[in-house]
């Protein structure tokens, strides 16, 4: 018995917004700094557990938890750039190894501190909204907030001086330097933005599903597919890619088999790399 399409589309719309949040940060760091940040998944986990500790363990409420999910991963991301990446960013192999090791180390620390069992955090909003068969209000809020954040990022990048400077750096760091832009500072900003976005995605995932030590992995792998599909470095491409991958995933799990999570996106990844390696939106940010 096939599921009604309406519900499946709603599921896909919701989850895709979350994927977009994760993929945007991933693509920003790559597009602006040329760094493949494999520790991006760690920011998701850190965001989720920061929210868990602040809201549930310290009992400060879910909105204080949300703030922690924004700030702590942003700081982690900044610390990673300042303490490690800025010294090795010209050596992609070293960067990959360092970011991968950091990701694993973060997972291990979370495992030791919080255990291997998933933890639940409160919903940002409780209750149901009368749409279709009833929709969890929290899911709707997550969807809306994701889009607000994506919209804000677009506005910042396109209409503020700092945003334009980030864009300029991504186009040509030499050119940017010539007009007085400190590219190091721009790199730092992108790391902070990416960390904060991934952290918020972690909060949302924890609030909708649960949080566990390995929760950053699937979104990281999906981000690969999304940014390759959308075009590496393109924010617009990431959003479109997130929706394509999100729909593909949801349709596969709904109509083919729920155990095929992640498979469809990997097939897309391979196909795009072979057929159209520049992705749907090319590299807007390339030199």
């Amino acid at each position: 018995m096939a599921l009604p399409l309406g519900g499946v589309v709603v599921n896909a719309l919701m989850i895709s917004a979350l994927y977009a949040l994760v993929a945007i940060g991933f693509t920003l760091i790559f597009g602006v700094g040329g760094v493949l940040n494999l520790a991006h998944g760690a920011s998701i986990t850190i965001g989720a557990f920061a929210a868990y500790y602040v809201s549930s363990v310290f009992g400060l409420g879910i909105w204080a938890g949300a703030l922690a999910a924004l700030v702590v991963p942003a700081l982690f991301s900044a610390a990673m750039y300042l303490g490690m990446i800025q010294y090795v960013e010209d050596n992609p192999i070293t960067v990959m190894i360092l970011t991968l090791v950091t990701f694993i180390a973060v997972e291990e620390v979370v495992k030791i501190v919080a255990g291997t069992q998933a933890v639940a955090i409160q919903s940002l909003l409780t209750g149901q909204v009368a749409i279709g068969n009833g929709l969890e209000a929290n899911r709707l809020l997550v969807f809306a907030l994701s889009w607000v954040l994506i919209g804000l990022l677009f506005a910042v990048v396109n209409y503020t001086r700092t945003g334009k400077a980030i864009l300029a750096t991504s186009m040509s760091s030499k050119g940017a330097a010539l007009v007085g832009i400190e590219s190091d500072r721009m790199y730092l900003y992108t790391w902070i933005l990416a960390g904060a976005f991934a952290g918020i995605a972690g909060l949302f995932l924890a609030s909708l599903q649960t949080a566990n030590w390995s929760m950053g992995r699937t979104p990281l792998v999906l981000s690969f597919s999304i940014v390759v599909l959308g075009g590496i470095g393109s924010i617009r491409g990431s959003v479109v890619g997130a929706y394509i991958i999100g729909f593909l995933e949801t349709l596969t799990t709904s109509y083919v088999d729920s155990s095929l999570t992640g498979l469809a996106s990997l097939v897309v990844l391979v196909l795009i790399l072979l057929v159209k390696p520049e992705g749907l939106f090319g590299r807007e940010f390339t030199e």
């Binding site: 255990g115 069992q117 933890v119 639940a120 409160q122 909708l208 599903q209 949801t250 155990s259 999570t261």
Partner: protein, 454 residues
């Protein structure tokens, strides 16, 4: 907290491992049973201290080792995992109580805890430390089925009784059945094996579903090896019990998002999701409640067995039900509540199921040794086989050599001649969550309550 694996994964290659060791076992029989232990010692170079220590042990005749009775405890992360902590602390509690009462056969009881890290290779190493290095009288604990199966050959070679208190794989008992002489040192004090876990689900359905209004259920089992025997029993017997099975799904092990799966349950029109979940239990129950799905929820849900679960999930398990070995307030026998309280006094928290069972294992071993007036493994084995023991989780008896699962604890739906799991629902009383037993009647503290949104 790896309590996700109460019931644990069975290892499909058990047969293979049995075959591969047949040769070694024949060698051992040719040269006499104790000599293999000596050979192992010499070969592995444990050292002079170990050898001198063993000399007394080997010369002990039929009465077995002398000196303090040493209990080797194998626990997964006893410092942080409630499953492992319950195993370790319960063994210590049982030993303390025995020592206050003149120990075992007048000897002091010592407990040595080793961490398996849930890894077969680590399990093997620490098992050797315990048996060869520490020369323990018997071992207990083990939670992960893979670790247990990896140790079966060592248990056989060391000829040291192991009373297993966490793993659910029926494969270990099958090994006893296939080669009793080699594997007779293995006993599963609890929980009932995975086959009977499924059987108990069917028995619960028979007894309660019509009252609960669960006329039609959608079976959800996570795709780990431990659920295979459970699923096969449900598949064969749930229909016969008059339950309409609206659907049956074996979903992927790593599932975190249950939206699609719940859409399918919802669409099937089932009254409830009847589940077997350990690793994936928390996201499943949390999403069921947060999304207020219009069906009820319960079955074997390992995380929900944890006494602190309500607090850990901020109440996101309310109205869900699960099978369990015991709860701190359920009077299965006169020993259940006193044990739970003593554990709480010592540790400031209540144990999970592995604690009750480990406590029983140590006490039963002591009773068998006293009854046999001997510490020799073979003497104690015959007592364990023949003398029932009343523990905290019920009457502990083991299946005989000719039955399907020799040395597994007997499952008895009546609870008189074996153990039977109980069923509980998480309910809220005075603003706090409580595991309220709802089945069987003899231990029930309340009745099932429907979730208000269904």
């Amino acid at each position: 907290m790896a309590f996700t694996k109460m019931v644990n994964d069975t290892k499909s290659s058990a047969t293979e491992s049995r075959q591969s060791k047949a040769g070694r076992r024949d060698d051992r029989r040719d040269s006499g049973s104790r000599s293999s232990r000596r050979r192992f010692l010499a070969a592995s170079g444990v050292g002079f201290a170990g050898l001198t220590g063993l000399a007394g042990c080997l010369g002990g005749g039929t009465s077995g080792p002398t000196g303090p009775v040493k209990i080797g405890v194998l626990a997964p992360e006893p410092g942080s995992n409630p499953i492992g902590a319950s195993i370790a602390q319960s063994a210590k509690l049982a030993a303390e109580q025995l020592n206050q009462d003149d120990g075992i056969l007048g000897n002091d009881v010592e407990v040595i805890v080793k961490d398996t890290h849930e890894k077969p290779s680590t399990g093997r190493d620490v098992y050797q430390d315990l048996t060869v290095g520490e020369e323990v009288d018997f071992t207990t604990g083990i939670f992960t089925s893979e670790v247990l199966l990896a140790l079966m050959d060592s248990i056989s070679e060391q000829e040291t009784i192991h009373m297993s208190t966490g793993a659910a794989t029926p494969d270990a008992a099958t090994m006893v059945k296939d080669d009793y002489e080699a594997y007779k040192y293995f006993f599963r004090t609890g929980p009932v094996n995975a086959h009977f876990l499924g059987q108990n689900m069917v028995d619960f359905a028979n007894a309660n579903f019509s009252n609960m209004g669960w006329d039609s259920v959608y079976v959800l089992v996570e795709d780990y090896a431990w659920t295979k025997p459970v699923e096969s029993v449900l598949n064969n017997q749930l229909g016969e019990a008059g339950v309409d099975v609206a659907g049956m799904k074996r979903y992927a092990g790593g599932t975190e998002d249950f939206s699609t799966i719940y859409d399918q349950v919802e669409q099937s029109g089932a009254d409830a999701a009847f589940v077997a979940m350990a690793h994936t239990g928390t996201p499943a129950v949390v999403q069921w409640i947060k999304q207020q799905r219009p069906f009820e929820f319960g079955g074997i849900h390992v995380p929900m067995q944890l006494p602190s679960y309500y607090q850990a999930t901020k109440g996101a398990c309310r109205f869900a039900i699960t099978q369990n070995s015991a709860t701190p307030t359920s009077e299965i026998t006169s020993k259940t509540v006193p044990y739970a309280n003593a554990y709480h006094d010592a540790n400031d928290k209540y144990p999970v199921y592995t604690g009750y069972i480990t406590f029983d294992a140590v006490k039963q071993y002591a009773a068998a040794a006293e009854s046999a007036s001997s510490r020799a493994a073979t003497d104690i084995i015959s007592k364990l086989e023949s003398e029932p023991f009343t523990g905290t989780v019920g009457t502990i008896r083991y299946y005989g050599q000719d039955e399907a699962y020799p040395h597994d604890v007997v499952y008895d739906p009546s609870g008189e001649n074996g153990v039977r799991p109980l069923w509980l629902q998480w309910q809220e009383h005075d603003g706090a969550g409580k595991q309220v037993s709802i089945h069987p009647d003899s231990v029930a503290e309340g009745s099932y309550r429907k979730p208000p949104w269904v």
